[in-house]
Amino acid sequence: MMAAPPSRRSRRPRLRRLHLPAMLLVLGPGLVSGFADNDAAGITTYSLAGAQYGYGFMWALLVTMIALLFTQEVGARLGLATGEGLSGVIRERFGVRWTALAVLVTLVANLGTTIAEFAGIAASLELLFRMPPQVSSILAGMFVVIVLARGSFGKVQYAFLAIGGAVSAAYAISAILAGPDWEHAAVALVKPELSPTAAYLITLVGVVGTTITPWGQAFIQSYVADKGLGPRDLVGTRVDVTLGSLVTNVVAGFIVVACAATIWTHGGQIVDAADAARALGPLAGSAATVLFSVGLLAASLLGLGVVPLSSAYFACEAFGWERGLHWRWSQAPVFYGLLAFFVAGGALFVVIPGLPLIQVMFLSAVLDGLLLPIILSFVMLLAGDRKLLGELASGRTLLVIGWGITALVSIMSVAFVVAQVFGLGS
């Protein structure tokens, strides 16, 4: 029985939801991942690199950008083809034991990253309000628990993203106002200024480790899979991860240039967060500290909303346990247990009195860099698997590039460990 027709389309304007072209619809995961990449550890590591070595790491940023583009693209393709997260695919392909290794490595790296996010919050609140880390880390822990429990991270993350974007722009403007040696910076992009010291090597590991992260690799794949995207979304997803990788490293480049032009040229050093804030001086003057703190805070909170959650997901997906915030505590005990462990562990670590916060953030990046080869090896082994990925499997060229990247990162990590063990070049 039909209703009388409504007053058709005559006068009423068609007020439908704004429909973006199909390609824009899949934009997102790569960009979110790109922004979240410049978290507490990222900002700190890039700042240290610029302050200590001037433009000496510009080449590394260019190389890691290309590497990040490849690894994120492979991760996205794994998600598109399998509809599963990285740990699930590792489990199906390599069995229980290898999965246990991958989960362990990822959890260790991510715990380091979580600690770094708490350290970032502590450092920024100390600068802003002189709040002791013991107080701020507990507050931050509670804040994260409340936001996640209320399920409002989805909305809150846009605020963090917006602040992150604004601070990224601030770095760009500050870098320009500081009047850097652009020629030097440009040449350094393609002409590596290497320095054969252990300190240079550790910074290199940090720069690579904070750009291409184990959690970022898991995140992009899960995000693509959870959105229900499939092989036909390949083009849009590629555009997305390309933009994400560009954003990550262009911002990183501006941070390095700003620090080089403000701190390195004057022979300065970064010991605490206040020093790092000086890079924003040319734009903000005396307000640089506030701007830096707010940016660091937003970046850290964004990271904190993503990293513990994606870690718990990673472990639970591998072993088939209930996961996700829609479950009750009793239904998904392992998931919530891990989440609690990460938040509590990170917060309690930062409570340790006299912790050098900048060093903690930097070292978490180094830890990421050291563990990265293991995760990348898994990813590359999966990427060439035609049975698993079908049409989306990497071709010969992509595989060669991917394994090349993995080999380079491995050599770097091994060299670092060797240098540490034998005390070379220090």
Binding site: M1, A3, P6, G83, E84, G95, G151, L229, G320, H326
Partner: protein, 417 residues
């Protein structure tokens, strides 16, 4: 009861006792309730060999080929065969009892009357520990504190495998067990599947179940699923859906795709959907359904009941019966109860409630929800500027607005039909 992980890698010897290779996998044809193991796959020095399970006998920790056996030969299993190690172990399956997707840690076998059968999927912690060789140690540790390690075994007849049995053969087993679940449970499971598996499920479910399932799926994924389906099939499913749900879904699709699908739908359903597409998504018009029961005002109660018998409307449509005049204007409503208890010759206008609460199509959907909540309504009629009845918002359309996000998923149990 042996487990797959316990017999994998066993030595296989010939009747004389010389090693032929190692047992790497066993295979079944997943047709019976507890399928019998029919083949063993051996790894010899020069590749894989297949042997009939009946040709092996167990002796101690190894398997011995019978004298009468057909010698192991390289070859292919029939396409309907399922290899337990390759196709099930570490893969995701559907636990149709708990209505959730779980991962297989081990497979439980049972040897009865000389016939080894697949009886269950181990999805518990024990299975995991057994795989890494730590079950014994963990058991001893647990017994020290006076506890037992819990078992997590799903009987095989409640298991629905997700993966294709062979990589290049499309899912041969119809998702028969899956189809028995409530659509809301199927939806939860489908959300955890890969794109290919999802498409396979939606190709196989009957159109009605497919439509009900699709309605329960997260909006973001709905569009992705419909986008993957064959267009004819997608249009068939959309026709079966409530028009308002179909419209919500269509609104998430790109313009051309949407027009194409509406074009393919049956004329009547297509027209309904097109009408609804004209309203903003967050208004009463955007969430209402055009499926409702309107009775002409000059009918008597008896005629109205006769009409209902003829139409056999869905239960959700008879919450309220609307009375309209010849112009389609809403005059009042009648509950089914009042209609049934009235004498057959009573005119509808005498038993209807003329002061019926109604909203304009442009009303915000949150306002609609609060009206429905405040007056405990099951449905709220929607009218146009000339008071003509154009649709009805039922309580199930707004219940999602009233619940905190994620609540729908909280109920862990399945309700099998």
């Amino acid at each position: 009861m042996p487990y797959l992980s316990e017999i994998q890698r066993s030595k296989v010897v010939d009747p004389a006792g010389a090693e032929i290779g190692r047992l790497v996998d066993i295979a079944v044809v997943p047709k019976e309730q507890f399928p019998a193991v029919q083949w063993a796959i051996l790894r010899a020095k020069d590749g894989e060999r297949i042997v009939r399970w009946a040709d092996l006998e167990r002796s101690d920790r190894e398997y011995r080929l019978r004298e009468t056996a057909v010698p192991p030969a390289p070859g292919e299993l029939p396409p309907e065969a399922m290899r337990l190690g390759r196709d099930l172990l570490d893969k995701q399956i559907v636990d149709t009892h708990g209505a959730k997707v779980v991962r297989v840690n081990d497979l439980q076998l049972d040897d009865k009357g000389g016939q080894l059968r697949l009886v269950g999927a181990d999805v518990g912690l024990r299975g995991l520990l057994r795989r890494v060789g730590g079950e014994g140690a963990a058991e001893r540790m647990a017994s020290v504190v006076g506890r037992k390690l819990p078992r997590g075994i799903i009987p095989w007849h409640l298991v629905e495998p997700l993966e294709a049995t062979q990589q290049n053969v499309r899912l041969t087993l119809p998702h028969a067990k899956l189809a028995l679940l409530h659509p809301a449970d199927i939806a939860d499971i489908v959300e955890e599947m890969t794109t290919d598996e999802r498409r396979a499920v939606f190709d196989q479910l009957d159109v009605e179940t497919a439509a009900e399932t699709l309605e329960e799926i997260e909006p973001e994924m709905q569009a992705a699923i419909v986008g993957d389906l064959d267009e004819e099939r997608a249009a068939d499913i959309l026709e079966e859906m409530d028009p308002d749900e179909a419209v919500d879904l269509l609104q998430d699709l790109p313009e051309e795709k949407r027009d194409e699908l509406v074009e393919l739908m049956e004329e009547e359903e297509g027209a309904d959907v097109e009408e609804l597409l004209a309203y903003p998504e967050d208004s009463a018009g955007g969430i209402m359904t055009t499926d409702f029961l309107a009775l002409a005002r000059d009918l008597t109660a008896g005629q109205a009941i006769e009409k209902l018998r003829e139409l056999k409307p869905d239960p959700a449509l008879v919450y309220y019966l609307y009375v309209i005049d010849s112009e389609g204007r809403l005059e009042g409503n009648i509950s089914l109860r009042d209609l049934v208890v009235a004498a057959p010759e009573t005119p509808l206008t005498q038993i209807m409630n003329p002061n019926v609460l109604k909203v304009d199509a442009a009303t915000n959907k949150e306002d609609v929800a609060s009206l429905i909540a405040k007056y405990d309504l099951l449905a709220l009629p929607v009218v146009d500027a000339r008071r003509r009845l154009i649709g009805s918002v039922t309580v199930d359309d707004v219940v999602d607005l009233m619940l905190p996000r994620g609540w729908k998923k909280r109920s862990g149990r399945s309700s099998a039909r």
